[in-house]
């Protein structure tokens, strides 16, 4: 078990190095001189030169890469071209908001997705099944930003039940979390249904029925636990969808998170912040999937012996 975990963690390291390299290259491939952007168009040449020297931009690419890696290991993501504050602080102050939103959406997606999938699978081809699956398909197909706008128009502007935007109380969280969670709820519901239907056809489920166990015991004890395994992987992957979707949801609801910071930074050509945010999101996503993989091996010991 422990050796499997160690192996998985070690395997994640080259992926992270690759992620950092890709982000670094994108920063350097950017059209325009970063030093000039930082100094401003009207800045005198010596100011631009000084910034270039300070950032190490006058060094060969490989040296720049070394400097970048070195500062990353110290937790230094560079400084914002706009505010001159460290990127890590810019992002750090907004990360809790994004994590709060992503966690709430994930909770909604897992609870409602699992419930909907379970109900659908145990009543296959019934009206409830069709209804649930149509709902899931709508969740997958609806543009998250439009869903957010419409929810805001109906429940905030027309009915006044929730604030129009911003963060603070629980009521601020409701609409953004439902909006962001809609797609993942649909995905998890569909996956739970098909996974559950597959498990319900297995011999051990028939055996459990044959020995006279009640419907509920068979579904909960024998079927659900096995059906959950692929759902877990999907939920891990959905966390990435949530982090990505948070860019749009945060923009709609003016939620002060990393996604909105990223969009604003693109508009302001504040590239160090964009790259820092992308890097952070990729690292969080990799870490979540690593945890899911490990959890997966705890639930299903067959995985470890691959």
């Amino acid at each position: 078990m422990l050796s499997y975990i160690i192996r998985r963690v070690l395997l994640a390291i080259p992926v992270l190095i690759g992620v950092v390299t890709l982000v670094f290259l994108s920063l350097r491939l950017m059209p325009g001189d970063p030093a000039l952007i930082m100094a401003g168009e009207a800045a005198p040449q010596e100011v631009v030169d000084r910034i270039r020297e300070r950032l190490g931009l006058d060094q060969p690419l490989i040296v720049q890469y070394g400097i970048y890696m070195g500062s990353l290991l110290r937790g230094d993501l560079g400084e914002s071209a706009r505010t001159r504050r460290p990127v890590s602080r810019e992002i750090g102050t907004r990360l809790p908001a994004t994590m709060e939103l992503a966690a709430a959406s994930m909770a909604i997606a897992v609870v409602f997705g699992l419930l909907a999938g379970l109900i659908s699978a145990t009543r296959q081809y019934s009206l409830v099944d069709y209804g649930t699956m149509v709902g899931a398909l709508i969740g997958i197909s609806i543009p998250v930003f439009w869903f957010g706008l419409m929810a805001m128009w109906i429940f905030s502007v027309q009915l006044g039940w929730f604030p129009v935007g911003g963060r603070g109380t629980f009521r601020h969280l409701v609409l953004p979390a439902i909006t962001l969670g809609a797609m993942s709820t649909g995905m998890i519901a569909r996956m739970t249904r098909s996974s559950m239907l597959e498990v319900l056809r297995q011999d051990y489920v028939r055996t459990a029925h044959a020995k006279g166990l009640g419907e509920r015991a068979v579904h909960m004890k024998h079927a659900l636990r096995n059906a959950l395994i692929p759902v877990m992987t999907l939920a891990g992957l959905q966390f990435g969808t949530l982090l990505g979707g948070s860019v749009l949801t945060e923009t709609v609801f003016t939620w002060p998170g990393v996604g909105r910071l990223m969009v604003n930074s693109i508009m302001n050509r504040d590239y160090p912040v964009v790259q820092g945010a992308v890097l952070l999101i990729a690292v969080i996503f990799t870490a979540v999937n690593l945890l899911v993989d490990i959890a997966y091996s705890v639930v299903d010991p067959r995985i470890r012996y691959d």
Binding site: S141, M150, R190, I266, V278
Partner: protein
């Protein structure tokens, strides 16, 4: 036509008619196909059927709600929303075709070579895949769009590039399985070159899942491009792209919600159509692919 090509053609025709029968038996797939056809027809005939010029502003009629002359109302510059949505269908179709084309053109050969030759090539390609899949898709798109600059064409190409790992993964899996089949080994024993084996024996057999994935990715591409348009990173004004239209409408949500309602419905309609069709194709071609995406 040589003689040995005839049976192949018959076989592929048989396969197509088999998939077609599977598709028409599936009610939701038929609905999806109809929706996609509506989108295609509207897109193709846009200049003919659109009642007004989609980009001509009529400032004194700005934000007018739906009327008998303007069924979907007028936007913040008095432009006819229905006409803009009709022209937007053409843009969405282009987004779907271009990004899926780019994704397939990169991802399919990548998966074929990686799966067929294995070894170091496969190892390197798998690690690259791991790195690309470590980014949530839209985040990777945003990163590359930041490098290339905003714009509709850049968005389409980037969405295509970032979908390539998805095709590569599916094609590699199928290729690995096919490599060990008897007919591929027989072809190799008869002295067929690798190129011939890949093109004639492996490639046609991996196309099923690729078509399914392509249909589902069309939905994702339309959704992502609209998202970029909404963020101001995709189509630029005055292009009647649905996401960009929504982003403008957002500013007038309180006074003129119709400006946001209709472009969103159009995106939803197209994405739903491609998702339904993709699900149906998957069930008709390969039910084991359930949950691939």
């Amino acid at each position: 036509m040589t003689e040995n090509q005839k049976p192949t053609k018959k076989r592929s025709q048989r396969l197509i008619s088999q998939v077609w029968r599977g598709l028409v038996r599936n009610r939701s797939a038929v609905v999806g196909l109809a929706m996609v056809l509506v989108l295609a027809i509207v897109g193709l005939l846009a200049p003919v059927i659109s009642p007004y010029d989609p980009v001509r502003p009529v400032m004194r009629e700005r934000l007018t709600p739906p009327t008998s002359q303007h069924w979907f109302g007028q936007d913040e510059m008095g432009r006819d929303i229905l006409s803009r949505i009709i022209h937007g269908a053409r843009i969405s179709l282009t987004i779907g075709v271009v990004s899926v084309g780019v994704g397939m053109a990169l991802g399919v050969p990548w998966g074929l070579l990686s799966g067929f030759f294995g070894g170091k090539l496969d190892l390197i390609s798998q690690r690259l895949l791991d790195v690309l899949l470590a980014f949530p898709p839209i985040i990777l798109v945003i990163l590359v769009v930041t490098v290339l600059g905003p714009g509709l064409w850049n968005a389409m190409i980037v969405i295509g590039i970032t979908s390539a790992p998805g095709y590569s993964r599916v094609v590699r899996g199928s290729t690995l399985a096919l490599r060990d089949t008897e007919y591929v080994q027989a072809a190799q024993a008869l002295g067929a070159s690798n190129t011939r084996v890949i093109l004639r024996h492996v490639f046609p057999n991996v196309m099923g899942p690729v078509v399914v994935l392509g249909t589902l990715y069309t939905a994702t591409a339309i959704l992502t491009a609209a998202g970029l348009g909404f963020l101001g990173l995709g189509a630029q004004a005055p292009t009647p792209e649905w996401g960009a239209m929504l982003s403008r409408g957002r500013e007038y949500l309180r006074v003129a919600p119709h400006v946001s309602v209709f472009p969103g419905l159009a995106i939803f309609f197209s994405v739903l159509g491609f998702n339904l069709l993709g699900d149906g194709l998957r069930d008709a071609i390969d039910p084991r692919m359930r949950g691939v995406r």
